[in-house]
């Protein structure tokens, strides 16, 4: 057995991981989620705003991180729209603007048909310049976005009338996969307007970098697919779809927790087996050396 494990072809490990991910997906396994304080704070940040508040959503990610971040992006949009907030979409990543359009098409248009572009939501689009865009927008939003996505002038969009800079926003939501993202929003937005509120949805690998900012600079935080699943539970509980059932796209986070569980368990088994092989062979090597 030890010899088999010692010479284990990596393709068996790949097969095991493939099955660990595929089986729960095919069987549509879902497990109950216990909701943590960060997801509750995130929910409260959007829920506590009065109807019609201005919420800026910055989609700072691309398809590589879609698996983790798209479920929370969907839930943010559905939650904010269900509360009747005005939605301002922007992107610091080039492919972020595509993600905005996909989310609007998947969530806003079919499930919130009363939302009209220009009146209830606006796509500001992608702007090159990384944190420079935030810096300019904190002093002058029209200067950062002289035109919005689709070519309209800033002043022609009804819901942008009277907005001079980012301090007009009641909440900023950053869905972030790296640089530029949540950290830059903290540095250039929250630092410029210390009273302003920022919520972050982030990937697991960079979540630990944002813990120092929570809960003062970042008032709510969702990390990885677990955070998305917890937030979905809260949103689905209060704002189900038209038929009283959760919107299928708002179950994605919870659905992805199934493969995550089996993949994590496999990882633990592999680490234990690897160490078993290591200690057994080290013991026999030591005995062989003494002889």
């Amino acid at each position: 057995m030890i010899r088999f494990l010692q010479n284990l072809d990596r393709r068996w490990i790949f097969l095991a991981m493939g099955l660990a991910v595929a089986v729960p997906i095919l069987l549509q396994l879902r497990f109950p989620e216990s909701v943590g304080s960060k997801a509750r704070d995130t929910f409260a940040a959007i829920e506590s705003l009065p109807e019609g508040s201005k919420v800026l959503l910055s989609f700072d990610y691309d398809p590589a991180s879609e698996g983790e971040l798209q479920p929370m992006a969907n839930a943010f949009v559905h939650h904010a729209a269900s509360r009747g907030h005005k939605l301002y979409f922007m992107a610091l990543w080039p492919l972020g603007s595509q993600k905005v359009k996909e989310t609007v098409d998947a969530i806003l248009k079919p499930h919130h048909p009363s939302y009209v572009e220009g009146r209830d939501y606006v796509l500001l689009g992608f702007k090159a310049g990384n944190e420079g865009v935030i810096k300019v927008a904190t002093t002058s939003l029209p200067q950062a976005y002289p035109t919005v996505d689709g070519g309209s002038q800033f002043g022609e969009v009804p819901m942008l009338a009277g907005i001079s800079n980012l301090s007009a926003m009641d909440l900023v939501v950053s869905v972030s996969a790296g640089y530029p993202g949540t950290k830059e929003w903290v540095q250039y937005f929250v630092s410029a307007f210390p009273g302003e509120r920022l919520v972050s949805g982030t990937t697991g690998v960079q979540a630990v970098n944002f813990y120092p900012y929570y809960p003062k600079q970042i008032v709510g935080m969702l990390s990885a697919i677990k955070g998305a699943a917890e937030y979905e539970v809260l949103v689905n509980e209060k704002y189900p779809g038209g038929d009283g059932k959760p919107i299928p796209l708002l179950l994605e986070g919870q659905r992805r927790m199934g493969p995550q569980l089996t993949a994590h368990l496999l990882m633990i088994v592999l680490i234990l087996l690897g160490n078993l092989v290591y200690f057994v062979t080290r013991g026999s090597d030591a005995r062989g050396g003494r002889r």
């Binding site: 989620e33 595509q98 300019v136 630990v208 120092p212 927790m257 994590h264 496999l266 680490i271």
Partner: protein, 234 residues
Amino acid sequence: MKRSIPILIASLSGMVLVLAFFSPRTESWSEAVVDWFNVLAAIAFILGAGSLLKVQLVKISSRSPGWAYAAITLAAFLFTLLVGLFKVGTVPSDKFPTHVWTGDYEAPQATFGWIYLYVMSPLTATMFAMLAFYVASAAFRAFRAKNLAAILLLSAAFLVLLGRTAAAGFLTGWFPEPLEALKLDNLVDTMLVYVGTPGSRAIVIGIALGVAATSLRVLLGLERPYLGGGGGNG
């Protein structure tokens, strides 16, 4: 002169941005600098594309190992550039239905949008998803409890791996109220808040001090990595 002018521009731009952060009167100056940055970044895109073309063409013409990949890169680059620039397949906008070029090149009906949706998006997602397989292989071959530090690292890894899934509920969800703090998800939170966050804070503060020191050297022209050659005092 060839070095002095870039150093002067870099120092002035940096100083303006620092000043603008502290004085509201100079905020508009920083906006001008950021505008210039955007203009230069646009030119850098052209330079980058030129460099990509040059490198790939050299590889192809010299038939160096992997030249076929260079040919694929080049073909994909040129095809995407052209269909984007000429808005191939776009549907005219509602405002100007007779003008084809008024269409959105990112829309799924446009060839550029189609490439994003059905080539770029699945490819990048696949690359990221493949990490799971390599991490699994590494878990089996590399994560060894060789010493105390490795044991601590592995223990933390086990806690997070279990605590961030439904396993936490199955294994420790039934713990009574007095043992609430020992539930796996609470243990993970405790570890992140009381161990991870202070460590992260220390690193962030250290990095910030380093960045401040390096930035000061750049502003004073002592460090000039933007001129190439690795910077330094030379």
